[in-house]
């Protein structure tokens, strides 16, 4: 359980598609001309990595919210509301 957004576990989950993207040219099916369903394998692979990125970030987001992030978001919202009210009051005084 961690309320730190960039916890080692969450970073590890998010790193999977990142590594898949960085090392794309080294993959055997990109290194040699390969086609899947009439499409270049590199295009299919990159599409899969983009989708995997979205899935990984959704998992990370849910884990963060579940482990205390939702409460931190609520506190941030309260603090921002106070700040905006102070800002409006300061602007009002200015007029």
């Amino acid at each position: 359980m961690s309320t730190t957004l960039a916890s080692p576990k969450r970073l590890a989950i998010a790193a999977v598609p990142v590594l898949g993207i960085v090392f794309t040219p080294l993959l055997p099916f990109v290194h040699t001309p390969t086609f899947w369903l009439g499409l270049p394998a590199a295009v299919v692979w990159m599409t899969a990595m983009v989708i995997l990125t979205v899935v990984a970030l959704q998992i990370v987001e849910r884990s963060y919210l579940r482990e205390g992030g939702a409460e931190l978001d609520r506190l941030e919202g309260e603090r921002d509301a106070i700040r905006r009210a102070q800002q409006d009051a300061t602007a009002g005084e200015g007029h």
Partner: protein, 487 residues
């Protein structure tokens, strides 16, 4: 007829930026509003970097010459989404608590170093100018390719530049947001039109792939000259780091203006999907191999394919989409440059004078870019130069977002200067790097100088904290909210 349609489209984009928006009267309101931009407004501002003139012109050109290596753009933009997910909410929270308006404010405050703030502002403004020029040149090129008229190109560049200055000065971040929404809709429409044209005029995706493969199978590996494995890995790392650590000064206002960190997190967690739209210009570039002269310039490929496959009114849609793709980033970049200059470099204390000077800098920056825009430039090369230079701020961002800053401002400043100087020497000195991105090479001297200077600082001042107490976050939470509001 085509020229008139395009100019009308450009004017429409400009009018959208000022229409029904109250004129902003303070630098803070102009830059970040009340720091309460809702999710979808923030989405379109954040998405701005994905669909630019580079997507329209540069990317199809890379696919035309380098085949699937052009997918590197989807790669670095996706990686930047992952990094931004973790980094931008923190930058936004610090900005809201401490009243930042720019990236340079963030560095100045976190390291307690005005020198660093000014260095970042100067480096940021310098590297943004070619990026601004790129957008305006790109716009002119799109119109020229669509209409075949050099005169129409010049007119459209002038009209678009004037309109960008007007809507940016008038409405600031909110005007930009309105135009950004239109931009994304028209660009996606334009890309679908391009795809339809290619399918109708050249063939379906499998058919095009088969025909290109018959010419050379190299197009489907990352191995063509100039677009090999080294190019891919180093460019993806450098550009991913640069965009992911938010080292582009013009991308800070949307982050600082967002309603909450949660809004930023939710947006970037989905934003990667957007990058898939870039497969269309890459596909158009591949189709270009079949129907265009092999000597066709890279930047002309997408519109060349469109001209071969589409009727005139649809070319206008593509050209207006391209114009919007230039005008939104141009507006954001002009805002970024003007803020850095008026707020950080000149540090004008009088709020009214600072706001006026800021407006003047918007006009001067866009005017300069317009003048420089008459000289034709290679879009992809310029973009990579900008990314390489600005990425030199990534190590500093990494240190600055930590709860406790553990290195001093001077070592960080020296590191950034060493890195940027290295990028400039490699780029302007024409030094061969064997395909390795100059920005990645420059990170090495950057980090060496940073750590060496930090070691010297620790030797000279043992036991002394690297940053002044007021730069500490705990100090901020309890004591500074009212001060931050006034700033």
């Amino acid at each position: 007829m085509l020229t008139t349609l395009i100019i009308l489209g450009i004017v429409f984009i400009g009018v959208l930026g000022v229409w029904t928006r109250k004129r902003q009267t303070s630098l803070s309101g102009w830059t970040v509003g009340k720091r309460d931009l809702p999710r979808w407004t923030t989405w379109f501002l954040q998405a701005g970097e994905a669909l630019t003139t580079f997507s329209f012109l540069g990317l199809a050109g890379i696919a035309f010459g380098g085949g699937v290596a052009a997918l590197f753009a989807i790669g670095y933009l996706t990686i930047s989404c992952v990094l931004q997910y973790f980094i931008t909410p923190r930058q936004r929270a610090l900005g809201a608590n401490r009243g930042y308006l720019t990236m340079a404010d963030f560095f100045k405050d976190r390291f307690g170093s005005p020198t660093l703030g000014k260095t970042v502002a100067v480096v940021g403004a310098i590297f943004l100018i070619p990026y601004l020029q790129l957008q305006i040149t790109g716009l002119g090129l799109i119109v020229q390719l669509a209409t075949g008229s050099g005169q129409a190109s010049s007119y459209s560049m002038i009209v678009a530049s004037v309109l960008v200055v007007v809507f940016v000065i008038w409405a600031g971040i909110r005007g930009l947001a309105r135009v950004a929404i239109f931009k994304d809709f028209i660009m996606v429409t334009a890309l679908v039109v391009v795809l339809a044209g290619v399918i109708a005029g050249v063939g379906g995706i499998p058919e095009v792939v088969e025909k290109v493969n018959a010419i050379s199978s190299d197009y489907f590996t990352v191995s063509r000259k100039g677009f090999d494995t080294t190019f891919w890995i180093t460019s993806v790392i450098v550009t991913g780091l640069g965009a992911g650590f938010n080292t582009f000064p013009h991308l800070w206002p949307p982050v600082l203006a967002a309603k909450s960190g949660a809004v930023l997190r939710r947006n970037v967690s989905w934003l990667a999907i957007y990058q898939l739209a870039l497969i269309i210009p890459i596909f158009a570039g591949l189709a270009g191999i079949l129907i265009l002269d092999p000597k066709t310039k890279g930047n002309s490929v997408l519109l060349g394919v469109a001209q071969e496959t589409l009727p005139e009114p649809l070319i206008a849609v593509i050209a207006i989409g391209g114009a919007a793709a230039a005008m939104v980033p141009a507006g954001a970049i002009a805002m970024g440059i003007s803020l850095l200059v008026s707020h950080n470099v000149l540090s004008i204390k009088n709020p009214k004078l600072r706001f006026r000077i800021n407006h003047l800098v918007v006009a001067v920056a866009v005017g300069l870019a317009l003048v420089f825009g008459l000289a034709k430039s290679d879009i992809a090369a310029l973009l990579l130069l900008t990314y390489g230079g600005l990425t030199q701020m990534a190590p500093a961002v990494a240190f600055a977002i930590a709860r406790k800053v553990r290195v001093g401002g001077i070592p960080v400043t020296l590191g950034i200067l060493a890195g940027t100087l290295t990028v400039a020497i490699i780029t302007f000195g024409g030094i061969k790097t064997g395909g390795i991105d100059s920005g990645l090479i420059a990170l090495l001297p950057n980090l060496i100088v940073l750590f060496a200077a930090e070691a010297v600082r620790r030797m000279l001042r043992p036991g002394q904290p690297p940053v002044p107490p007021e730069a500490d976050e705990e100090f901020d939470v309890e004591l500074r909210p009212r001060e931050a509001v006034k700033a």
